[in-house]
Symmetry: C2
Subunit: 229 residues, 2 copies
């Protein structure tokens, strides 16, 4: 019996275009956790997952270990894994990491950004303007940020940055699920892009730090209120 209806649909839709079964399971589970298809705290029972994916337990265990290393699952020895919990403290943690990584990525990338990159960022802003679907919005936002960082030439840094953008997005979806989705103004993104076009690295870094910091602050306020009451 499938533990989770949403996950089953995700598995059915998913293209197993991966090199190994373990990677397929890991990618699908990761998406399910990040998009909120599986709620925080949900037990990830090996047997159930194996059945849902139609595979044996071995690739499932490998996938769970990888999710643990990415802080998307928590292991309790001999009790099993659960989807990572959401907390105000962890949200602030992710925010702090973003505020550290993203200005660095932007500063390294900015001098190498091409006109095509900047135009693509502009298009992404236009798409975000008036986007009604929070999931699509998160993806566009992520792509906008990553477009600006893409030329940093630092694969590790970019991977870490994207990983924490995704983690932040998970938190945002969680907030939207509770409070409803209210699209944000694109003014901050536009100002950031303008600074990039002008080649003003200091100003761009300042803006991105402020932008990320504000988002983290809003989120933390919501989460703390939720934990208090």
């Amino acid at each position: 019996m499938a533990v989770n209806e949403g996950l089953s649909r995700l598995v059915a839709r998913a293209q197993p275009r991966h090199r190994t079964t373990a990677e397929f399971v890991e990618a699908t589970l990761r998406e399910a956790i990040l998009t909120g298809v599986i709620a925080p705290g949900t037990p990830l029972r090996q047997e159930d997952l194996a059945e849902t994916f139609g595979v044996s337990r071995m690739p499932v265990r490998e996938a769970l270990r990888q999710l643990e290393a990415r802080a998307l699952a928590e292991f309790h020895p001999h009790r099993g894994a659960v989807v990572a919990e959401i907390s105000a403290a962890d949200g602030a943690d992710i925010g702090a990491i973003r505020m550290a990584l993203e200005p660095m990525a932007l500063r390294l990338s900015l001098p190498a950004l091409t006109a095509a990159d900047l135009d693509q960022a502009e298009e992404l802003i236009a798409e975000m303007d008036g986007e009604a679907d929070p999931g699509r919005m998160g993806e566009l936002n992520r792509r906008f940020h990553m477009t600006l960082y893409a030329r940093a030439g630092r694969p590790r840094l970019l991977a870490l940055t994207e990983q924490h953008l995704l983690a932040a997005d998970r938190y945002l979806r969680f907030q939207f699920a509770a409070l409803g989705y209210r699209p944000r103004s694109q003014d901050e993104h536009r100002a950031l892009l303008a600074a990039c076009r002008a080649g003003d690295a200091d100003e761009a870094c300042r803006l991105v730090t402020e932008h990320v910091g504000q988002a983290a602050e809003q989120l933390t306020a919501f989460l703390e209120g939720r934990e208090a009451g």
Copy 2:
């Protein structure tokens, strides 16, 4: 037959004080990779590792997956895993990440540092002064940095920071193995500690950024020279 003599000794000495076999294998392998006991590029054959550790292949596979997620091993489907290679590009990457994370960790931690913390940092500097063993030196250096960041109250940020301190240390050991060990002056550490004692966050962050940046630059120069010739 054991693939690696050094690893066998590490396994023999290691206390399996871990919750599960997979975690024991992972921790031991991670230490072996980080300390250079297993050289970059070494194949990590499942069967051999299982025999060396005296366990079956499953916990070994779980351990390898975790090492992959930490960028300490590289997977090639149906060819197996190898110890992560060392390159100038990756060294610069790690340096950039440290330069992003450590000032953030320090800024968050500094206001909460206690007199005991600062005294312990001072002791660590004294120990480093004249330390002849590069391995011990790396550990002391890491503990010095982490002591200053410890009060940040951001577990994720600190874990990431320590992870990349360890990665940088691996590179440093590699350099020492090639060029011989030459102890560095503790002046930069002392200046950093002084700024922390004075509660001067801006100066402390500036110093730590400079300190990390210089270390990364030296390392990159060595690695680029090595790759060129």
